[in-house]
Structures are given as C-alpha cells and as structure tokens.
Symmetry: D4
Subunit: 161 residues, 8 copies
C-alpha cells in the first residue's frame, strides 16, 4: 500500500489527484494529514513505522518551506515522492526548492509543481519493480495516452476545416 500524506487539509484539493491515479491502477493507499511543523513527533513516528506497517511507497505533499517529504524520507528507507504544493505567493518555486534540494544521503523523488497525479503514477511505477503485471498496466496506460492524443488531434483538425 501507499502512504499519502500532506501538511494540511488545504492541500487535499491538490493531492486528491494522487489518490485518483492510485485508484485507477487498483493500488491501495491510506490518507493522512501530518505536518512537519505542527505535528513533528507524529511525523517522525509515522515515518519510522511506515515500512513495518507494510507501506511500500510514501507520497508527501507540502508547500512553502516544505519540510515534510524530506523529513519523512530521513526516517524511513522507503522511497518518498514529494509534491510541491503551490501557495499564495511565489507560484510553488519555494515549495519546489524546499523539496528537491535535499542533501546527499536522503533523496526525495520530486515531481512537478502541483502535479499530484504524477506522484500517484510514479508510485505505481515504483510498485511495478515488484509487480510485473502493474508495469504492464502502466505500459497500457501510456498506450492509452497516445490514443487520447490521437483523438484530440483528430478533433482539433476536424474543427479547423
């Protein structure tokens, strides 16, 4: 299962897209609001227990001085995916740098600003390391994307003539 955490419930409108992606691939997950700066001890406990509880991947979304993904990564050997949530100012640039610029030793797998869907898809790819069938479905999803673009292309071209 995937652990899906975020610093505030106000991040949910952004983060739900990760849940939706996991749903599409039939991957189970659990959702939790955990804040690096407001519930630091709970965050440490969460991270330390994650692998033992059977989680395989953690997705963490946070904004501004976004410490959550990196801090959780520091107390678990699991791969942690960071989603830079854009706040009111700076368009997510502070969130991105706070998440991606981790020091040597503790990586966070960072995706694009506000792009929780990609965090879900990346979790699926990671789970695919142990599950060839999941990889096949990811390949099928990618073929569907291709199909979808072809349809949109056809529709746009039809509209132009």
């Amino acid at each position: 299962a995937v652990g899906l955490i975020m610093g505030s419930d106000s991040d949910w409108p952004t983060m739900r897209a990760a849940a939706a992606a996991l749903d599409e691939f039939g991957v189970s997950y659990e959702v939790q609001v955990i804040s690096a700066h407001r519930t630091p001890v709970k965050m440490i406990e969460y991270g330390r227990a994650a692998a033992g509880r059977g989680l395989k991947v953690i997705i963490a979304g946070a904004g501004g001085a976004a410490a959550l993904p990196g801090m959780v990564a520091s107390v678990t050997p699991l791969p942690v995916i960071g989603v830079p949530v854009p706040l009111k100012h700076l368009d997510g640039m502070d969130s991105l740098l706070s998440i991606v610029q981790m020091p040597a030793g503790v990586p966070v797998a960072t995706v694009s600003i506000g792009n929780a869907r990609n965090a879900g898809l990346l979790a699926v790819r990671m789970l695919g390391v142990a599950d060839p069938e999941l990889l096949d479905r990811m390949a099928a999803y990618q073929a569907d994307l291709e199909e979808l673009v072809a349809e949109k292309d056809a529709a746009l071209r039809a509209s132009l003539t």
Copy 2:
C-alpha cells in the same frame, strides 16, 4: 539492474556518484551515453527495450534543455530518476525545470541539482520495494549517517575547546 544514462560523457564526473552509491549497495548497473538531442532514435529504442532487458530503474542525467529523463520516461513503464546536471550558466536552474516540470501522465523522479549520489540512493530505495533485505541495508546506511554526524559533531566540539 539499474540503467544509468547521461546526455554526454562530460556528465560522467557528476553521474559517477550514482554509480558509486549503487556499488556501495551491491546493486548492478550498466552505464551508457545516450543523448536526447543527438541520438534520439537510440534513446527511444533504449527506453522501449529497458523493461524487457530486465532493467528495473533508470537513472538519467542531463543539463540545460534536459529532455533525456522525460523522454525515456515516456517510452518505458519503469520509474525514471532525473539528475539535473548544472551547466556553465544558470546554475542548473534550467536543467532542474526541464526535468521536473513534466506534464500529467509521465512522471520523472527528480533529485537535487548535481546530486547523482541521491539518484543512486533513490534507485536503491525503489529496488527495495521488491527486496526487503535492501531496505534493511538502507536503514543501516541511514543509521551510519547518524553515526557519522555524531563523530563530526564530536570532532568539531573538540576543536573548539
């Protein structure tokens, strides 16, 4: 095994740290110079064949308009880790944005600018999804980091008295 690719052999001084990390964990890997913009067809072929050849994770380093990680991710269902290699100008900011800002559908797991060691460690964590023993060794490595900091702390404090 891990596929370790880079856009130019001039990226090797940066990327070798990924190889070193994989060596430390006894993870096998293969190295290849593949350029999105100079060997596009070979890149597509590489990506398409990767899963079939038994690769589990791909690490891709590139700089500037760094298309390699995202393009490879578009033709494989494997998780792809992107390393933004800093070039002569802009301090890696162009490399970072070109790699991390992927559209919905195709994620790249981006690490910090020039931090190939973290790419190697992230690959190990991903492989740990299928290999609990590897996770244990990552946890041990993290305990070692803790120890190392304690030693440096002691040394610094000793030097101050």
Copy 3:
C-alpha cells in the same frame, strides 16, 4: 508548407495566432497535436518525415518541461521554431528555459512566451530566404505596423486634448 504542432489541444488557443499569421501571408500549413511525452514515437516519425513531405519550417509549441521543439529539431534538418506556452505556474519561465537552452548541435529558434504570432511571422521570414516576394510582403507588413502605431499615436493624442 509549414508544420504547426503542439503538445496538447489545450495549446491551440495560444498557437492559433501562428496559424493566423501564416494565413495573412498566404502561407499554407498543416496543424497537428503531437506530444513529446505522450506520443514520442509519432513525434519522431513526424520529424523524420517532415522534410521529405515537403515541409520547409516547423513551428512547435509546448509548455512546462517542453521537450517537443527540441526533440523534433533533433530528427529533422529543417529549422524549428519553439513557442514557450505558459502553464498554470511559473508564468512560462519553465517552458522558455526548456525550449531555448538547447545543447550545441541542435538549435531551436525560440520566440517570446506565449507569442505564437511571432512564430508565424518568423516562419514567413524563413520562407522568404527562398521567396523574395514573401520578403517584400514582410517589409510591407512592417511598414503597416509603422502606420498603425502612427494612427494609435494620433488617436491617443487626440483623446488628450
């Protein structure tokens, strides 16, 4: 003819200004939705076939980690014009850097953020290399711009008195 491609049909509201400019100069073009990250193989095929099909210039618009213009440029000897499409965050700065910061060997002729009209006009100038009459019309268009500014100047000044 000019090939006018874009990563998503959602880029069309931006990219149609390129088509409009080509229309004004009577230059024929074809429109296609092709995504570097969702239809990579089709993109390669498109680029490789472009010159043989009689295209003379390619205009490619994309946003975020905008790989399309550079990737197409890597598989065609034709001049490729890149339009940085601004997305929801970062105001097009990621799109601009992803398109313009190409490595030595493969240039993309980049225009201003969101300015597809200029991509169309640049294509006309390029076609003028082989068509003196087109250059004359570009010169006439520039004279018209001058005239237009003079009219706006007169109108503004009239409104102030």
Copy 4:
C-alpha cells in the same frame, strides 16, 4: 545561553561568525552539529530539551532544502534564528526560501544569506529583552559601527587627495 547548531561541520566556516559575535558580547553558547535529514530524532530531542536545559535562543544554520531551523522551531517555544548557508549551486536562494517561508504557526527569524554574524547579533538583541545591560552594549556597538564608518570615510577621502 544560546544553542548554536548546524546541519554539517562544513557549515562551521560560515557559522563561526555567529559564535564570534556572541563572544564579543560575552554571551555563552554551545555548539553542536545536528542534521535534520541525517539525525532527525536527535534533532527533535535537542529541540524539545532546549528550553528545559536553560537555552534562551537557538541559532540554526543549514543549506539547500534547509529543514533544520524550522523543524527545531516546531519542537521548542524558544525563538529560533535561521541562517541560510549558501551551497555550491543557486547562491543560497534555495536555502533562504527553505528557511524563511515557514507556515503560519511556526516562525523562524531568518537573517541574510551566509550572514551568521547577524544571527549572533540578533540573538544578543533577543537576550536583551531580559537584560537591559545587554541592550546598552548593543547600542554601544552600534555607535562603534558609526565610528568605524567615519574612520573608513576619512581614510578613503584622504587616499583620494
């Protein structure tokens, strides 16, 4: 006393200026290397014990995805001063944003990039809240600065004639 912590012993060449400032004002302090990402549990313990051990102010220096100042601030009611340590890339901009952009509820008193001296001086000002004599000495220090500028002004002007 002041707690002076930093994420790595490589931060010491930057952070020693804070110690020097405290020395100048006769303020006692203790130095420790504590890393948010390498010794997370020790960091939490340090922060939680700080007030009880008699510390009055904490100065924390860190670079890149600099979580240390904010994380310590989250587990202590003491004022925490953050020093953005510039790393090899981005000139400290990532460090600055990671430290200053804290969410509502947990402030970090951030000083300029690499300016640990100001962190020391700010700690002195904070301690002055409980120690009028320290405030007087800060006022005297500021008068000295004024004097120093006057001397440099005289020297520069003398050199020009």
Copy 5:
C-alpha cells in the same frame, strides 16, 4: 509592549494578523503607520525612542524596496521583526530581499512573505526570553496546533470513506 509599524495603511490587512496573534497571547502592543521613504525623520525618532519608551520588540511590515525594518533596526538595539508585504508585482520577492539581505552589523528577523501572524508569534517567543510563563503558553499553543491537525486529519479521513 510590542511596537507594530508599517509603511502604509494599505499594509494593515496584512499586518493585522500580527496584532491578532499578540492579542491571543495577551501581549500589549501599539500600532503606527511610519514610512521609511515618506516619514524618514519620524521613523528615526520612533526607532531611537523605542527602547526608552519601554518597547521590547518591534514588528515592521513593508513592501517593495522595503527599507523600514532595516532602518528601524539601525537606530534601536531592540530586536526588529520584518514582514515582507507582497505588492502588485513580483509576489513579494523584492520585499523579501530588501528586508532579509541586511549587511553585517544590523540584523532583521525576517518571516515569510505576507505572514504577519508569524511575526506576532515570533515576538511572543522573544518576549518569552524574559517571561517563562509566556514560553509555557507558546508550548501550549504548539500543542494546540498539533491537536488541530489531528482534528483536520480525522475530518478529512471521515470525508473519504
């Protein structure tokens, strides 16, 4: 008491959050509009008199070329907290750099862009240096934050099932 000043009355919608935080902790304060660039002499007088009038901490909010926090800090030995107020352009980045990048000798305790609440909370922490009871209440407030996150977590999770 805390001195709460701002460059313009248009900063009040931002700065009132500092007043609200001080109210919550029962800390007295006085509010004043003082502009570095429009009332420079009054600003100097305000700063010079502040300590003598019994102020313990000054909170100063300003935007753009935001000189107020640093200038006040230059004429008082009290700790000065700077709030970067975002203006119409640049999202507060100019305000942040103008406030935080102070030269060695005169620190400003800078908080996040537009985050006056944190300025109020930081003032409370500073006053806690002389008032253990206030520190206890800050610790209680932090525990409340933790509680609040737990409630939001429960609510979000309930809404998902």
Copy 6:
C-alpha cells in the same frame, strides 16, 4: 551570405563559434561590430540595407539590455537570430529576456545563452529552405553527431571496465 554582427568586439570570443559553424558548412558570411546603443544610426542603416545587399540571414549577439537583435529585426524582413551573450552578472538571464521577449510583430529567433554555434547551425537550416543540398548536409551533420556520441559512449564504457 550571413551577416554576423555583435554589440562589442568583446563578444567575439563567444560569437566566433557561429562563424566556425558557418565555415563547416561552407556558408559565406561577413563579420561586423555594430552596437545598438553606441552606433544606433549605423545599426539602422545596416539592417535596412541587409536584404538589398544579398544577405539572407542575420546573426546578432549582444549582452545585458541586449537591444541589437530586436532592433535589427525591426528594420529588415530577413530572419534574425539572437545570441544572448552572458555578461559579468546575472549569468545571461538579462541578455536572454532582452532578446527573446519581443513584442508581437517583430520576432527574433533566440538560441541558448552563449551558444553562438547553434546560431550558426540555425542559419544553415534557414538557408536550407532554399538549398536542399544544404539540408542534406545538415542531416549528415546530425548523423555525425550520433556517431560521435556512440564513440564517446564506447570510450566511457571501456574506461569503466
């Protein structure tokens, strides 16, 4: 022929790579130092006469408030390629924005910061619009790039075993 101009002779170490690329393709060119801000009238005359003198493409390099490419483009119907020359500060970001952010009506084909080689190669592609043989040689050059990468790949791999 190609007109190769630059704002200062100090730009030549950057711009000579454009000349070298043109030499490789046997394209004739002429070199001139013309400054938008120091020789404005000469610049206007140069641009107005360019097409009549038989120039087909203009390459213009400039740094800082880099007006040269855009100004020349405003007085010629020829395609103008802009090279952002990085100066002592800002790493070429000012040069890039000053060149690429042209208003609707007057495009500049901008290449990457300091990358005059790509300006030369882009000029060759543009000339290829009228010269199929030149396009063939560009395609051959691209094949050579591919070959070169293969050799570097082989060399790197050999060095690793």
Copy 7:
C-alpha cells in the same frame, strides 16, 4: 518640457500617472506613441531632435524586450527615464532587466515596475537642477507626503480603538 513616450497606446493606462505628476508640478510635456520595434526610424528621429526642440528630459515606458528607453538614450544627450511596463507574463521582470541593464556609456534612469508616477517625479527633480523654485515645490510635496502618512496613521489608529 518633458517628452513622454511609450511603445504602445496600451501602455497609456500605466504611463498616464507620469503625466499626472507633471501636471501637479505645472511642468509642460508632450505625449507620443513611438515604438522601438515598430517605428524604429521615427524613434531615432525623435531622439535626435529632442534636445534641439527644447525638450529637457524624456520619459519612456515599454514592456517585455523593452528597447525604447535605451535606444532613445543612445541618440540624445538628454537624461532618459525608463518605466518598465509589466506585461501579461513575468510580472515586469523582463521589462525591468531590458531597461536597466544598459551597457557602459549610455545610462537609463530606471524607476520601479509600472511606477510611472515616480518617472514624472524624477523628471521634476531633474528639471529642478535648473529651477530652484521647482526643487522647493518638490520639498513641499515631500512634506505633504509626510503629512498624509500622519493622517492615515491617525485614521488607522482611530479605527482600532
């Protein structure tokens, strides 16, 4: 008199504040739409004739690759004030850098983004070099600003009690 020019009539809503400031000080001015990139020759003529026609100061507003202020400054010995007009993207940062980063030899007196009022006030200060009475009125205006802040301060404080 002051020459007030702008690249497009769409800049007038920004630039009218310069005119209003000049009106307040009874300084005469003339308004003209002149575009560096659309009416380059007219721009050169305007600049060259300016001093001879009795203009004393020129205010030039432009956005994006904003060449107008610098180009006019290159053909007149008069002081030229540049107003960076913010366009749809980048919040005026491109306009600012294109105007302020002039090469040695040709200065532009740049004011804040979108702040045409300050351009008007700066022109008044410049004219004061030859007109002590104007300087006196500027001093009086500054005293009025001081008064205005005092009133706003009183109003805000009244509203809080």
Copy 8:
C-alpha cells in the same frame, strides 16, 4: 557639484568609475562613505543638507538590502542616482530590487548592476538640464563612442582576414 556616496569603503572599487566619468566631463564632486544601516542619522543629515550646500545631483551606491539611495532620496528634493553594487551572493539582484522598487512618491534613478560609470554619465546628463554646453559635450562623447566602435570593428575585421 555631485555628491558621491556609498555604503562602505569596499564599494569604492565599483564606485570610482562614477568619479572617473565625472572627471572626464570636468564635473566637480565630493566623495563620502555613508551607511544607511550604520550611520543612519548622518545619512539623514547629509540628505537634508545636500541641496542647501549646493549639490545638484547625488549618486549613491549600495549592495544587498540597499537602503541608502532610497533613504537619501526621501530627505532631499535632488535627483538621486542609485548604483546596485553586487555582493558575494545573488549577483546583485537583491541590490537592484532594493534600489529600484521604490514606492510612489520617492523615485531613485537606478542604473545597471555594478555600473557606476553610467551613474556618472547620468549625472552629467542631469546637470546638462541647466548647462547646454555640458549637453554638447555629452553629444560629443556619444559621437566618440561611435567612432570607438568603428575602430574596434575595423580591428576585428582586420584580424579575421
């Protein structure tokens, strides 16, 4: 005469180019080290006395949170020219924004980063408002620049044949 001030004697290597430019035009000036943050009262006195002492223009250089130019402008009706001095980090971007982004009411005539020569030349242009002969010499200087570029052009071209 021109007042030439700077925040620190370490700014002199940058600022001396302003003095050199004034020397070239035979404009008298006086040099002074005055710091906004270290000698605030002296700065206010300097600004308030400037016009009365016969100064006509003030040039002020400062770096980082560069308050000097704006603060002096707030206490004098004279035109103030600001030179953003680049410090160790951020390449002068903080200096530029702190100087140029002044609020409505108090302008600073900002020149390019580190470009004190242009500050000197701008002062000459401003003095030209009252001194037609000085304007003539500025025009002559500009003609000389033109000549100089022609010579460099000839030299470069000679070296290429």
